[in-house]
């Protein structure tokens, strides 16, 4: 609970005594590029396989001849948009980007780089962390969209190559009874997750104390705490918005 209070104070400190807009603009762009480079390939790889596996497993479970084949791709779509793309990708994002945010900040803390910024009169928390959070808010939803597309393409490849269903059936299923609200819901989720992961990881890293060992510990804590927060938020959002 004390940790939660400190987290709230930390979030507050991000928005006071800031630098010029131009400074943040550059820092945020840099972060966006970093995040993109770090995660896009992994995201595409994981989501393509997720789509492929979902297709095969759904097909294997739908043995009844009464169920039309296009249901397979419909299931792939629903699972991808609602859960796999935002939530599973959030977990990967926490492991890949969150841990490096916390590790980077932790290293800056123990090597006195944060003190160096403070001596120059810079609000180090907002200077270092705000760009990370804003960049995450912009990049993560984009990555989720890419992942969703890849997942459905993975499903397409797996489904057609193994001749579970024809391309026409697959496309028909993808478009069948489509509810646009689910896309909105997925994007809301991804924005919330992006905020949670980037702010929690930064918080953990920023308040590292000690040496190299503690930096490692903060990174691990950052990942676990972010994942737990994501899962709780996932449940709450489903409860509130669906």
């Amino acid at each position: 609970m004390k940790g939660f209070g400190r987290y709230m104070i930390f979030l507050g400190s991000l928005v006071v005594r800031r630098e010029t807009f131009k400074t943040y603009y550059h820092l945020t762009l840099e972060e966006c590029i970093q995040i993109g480079i770090k995660s896009i390939l992994l995201f595409m790889l994981v989501s393509t396989f997720m789509g492929a596996v979902t297709t095969l497993q759904t097909a294997a479970n739908l043995v009844s001849p009464l169920v039309p084949k296009f249901v397979v791709s419909q299931v792939v779509r629903e699972m991808t948009v609602l859960e796999l793309a935002p939530t599973i990708m959030a977990i990967i994002y926490a492991g890949k980007v969150g841990s490096s945010m916390s590790g980077g900040l932790g290293t800056m803390r123990i090597t006195e780089q944060i003190d160096a910024l403070e001596v120059m009169g810079i609000n180090s928390a907002s200077y270092l962390v705000l760009p990370k959070i804003v960049a995450s808010l912009m990049m993560f939803p984009l990555l989720v969209i890419v992942a969703a597309v890849c997942s459905m393409m993975g499903g397409y490849l797996a489904g057609t190559l193994t001749e579970i269903l024809t391309p026409t059936e697959y496309i028909y299923g993808i478009r069948y009874a489509f509810n646009e609200y689910f896309i909105t819901f997925a994007l809301i989720k991804s924005i919330v997750f992006a905020f949670l992961i980037s702010s929690i990881s930064s918080f953990r890293g920023y308040y590292t104390q000690g040496g190299a060992l503690e930096v490692g510990i903060s990174s691990t804590h950052a990942v676990t705490t972010s994942i737990i927060a994501v899962l709780i938020a996932d449940y709450l959002l489903a409860y509130l918005l669906l």
């Binding site: 005594r17 630098e19 400074t23 290293t107 800056m108 090597t111 006195e112 780089q113 003190d115 160096a116 403070e118 001596v119 120059m120 009169g121 810079i122």
Partner: protein, 251 residues
Amino acid sequence: MIKINNISKSFADKIILNGIDGEFDKGKTNLIIGSSGTGKSVLLKCIVGLLHPDTGNVFYDFRNFTEADKDMKSEIRREIGMLFQGGALFDSKNVEENVMFPLDILTKMPKSEKIDRVNFCLKRVGLEGVNKKMPSEISGGMKKRVGIARAIVNNPNYLFCDEPNSGLDPQTSIVIDELIMEITHEFDITTIVVTHDMNSVMGIGEKIMFLSKGDKLWEGSNHDIMNSGVKELDDFVFTNKIMKNLKHGTV
């Protein structure tokens, strides 16, 4: 000139600093010495404002820094340069960007002027042709030099150094010490150096404050440190036999 009065600081009921008074002169290298864990770094952090003292005030040329408002604080901060123990260079920036950073943040100089200033400072600390190197690609001694260049780039009136020669070989240490002293005289800066290295004390200790267990026990210069008559200071100065014999005139 920097003046401190009655600086106290405790962490979780453990008293680290116990009402320290003192004055640090302009154009001199002022040393804060004492054995490990006596609160030297904590005192330095209180002076530069990285920690807020529990009691007491810090005056930068009669301006009260501890109780200053935001504008006054940032005005004073512009006049401060600091060299950190490990250099504290920004990993993601190269040498040139590191040294230029305070100018980017604190001034509105045009780019070409900034580059001239950076090159001047790098040359002053004896580093040329390393502008594009990353901090991970240069040695510990070079990092200290880059740290000094960054600390003086914005023409500070006050220079702070926390253990400038920890982790360096004795020869490089002396070079760094002398560089700090030369810069102090050349630009007439108020310099405060935290150290527990006796070579530095004898070499550049123009004014020395000795701390022990949170109290200031002695103040003077490297000329009279041998004859202070303070037992704790003697223990600190005469750590080995040769020095002890030297003191008792038996060598």
